[in-house]
Symmetry: C2
Subunit: 109 residues, 2 copies
DNA sequence: TGTATTGATATACACTGTATAGGAAATGCC
DNA sequence: GGCATTTCCTATACAGTGTATATCAATACA
């Protein structure tokens, strides 16, 4: 584990998606949320792999839901932030904000 | 190379430091800038390794400066954003912003 | 019964992040 | 001059993260 256990970029995105989705966060919706907001075409396997790692670190937890009465409605695995995950997310977003503060995009490059 | 060649989290930090430092960006000041703004104690080797990778991708360029008349004043290697680097940085910051927009920190965890 | 659909899991590998160790060039002091 | 000291850069190795590919499971409907 790194010293300050900073979040990776994609981990941060996944946590942010969880924060937006509330109690409707599972693999497919998480992927959609990220794609919709960032325009980035995320691979579903990457999402699950990252979710597993976040859970191992104690930043998220998951539970298995009921199967829905939809065709192919397999039971979903719902994910949510833990208190520690919310704290880590907030901290890493603040760090980013303090790095972007006062930047003049016009005079770059 | 990844499909959408998205920036990693630390790469983003380093690019942001370059953007702030302008024509005074070299290993030591970059490290200081990140540490001062994020409170994160960055390893200098990590900075150089990341700068090399960014240069390989064409997001930064570097030139060797004159030695200064200071004790131990070895000639510095100055870094700056390329146009492509500035574009990539702006894009990745915007992606982050659109992920944090409308988030209610109070009701998380 | 079999095929399309929704959703999850496994695995492998490339890319990033980080620590450790060491090298190069300049100064200052004896 | 010679050697320690200072500033800064380079090399390398390995853990951690990011991503793709492939596959499995359960359900509905024809």
């Amino acid at each position: 584990m790194p010293k300050g256990d900073a979040l990776g970029g994609f981990e941060q995105l996944v946590l942010l998606a969880l924060a937006h989705l509330g109690d409707n966060a599972y693999g497919v919706t998480i992927r959609q949320e990220i794609a919709a907001r960032t325009g980035r075409d995320v691979n579903i396997g990457a999402v699950y792999a990252t979710l597993d790692r976040l859970e191992t670190k104690g930043l998220t937890r998951s539970r298995t839901g009921e199967p829905t009465a939809l065709r192919g409605g397999r039971s979903k695995r719902y994910f949510e932030l833990t208190a520690e995950g919310a704290r880590a997310l907030e901290e890493s977003v603040r760090a980013l904000e303090s790095m972007t503060r006062g930047l003049n995009w016009g005079e770059l490059g």
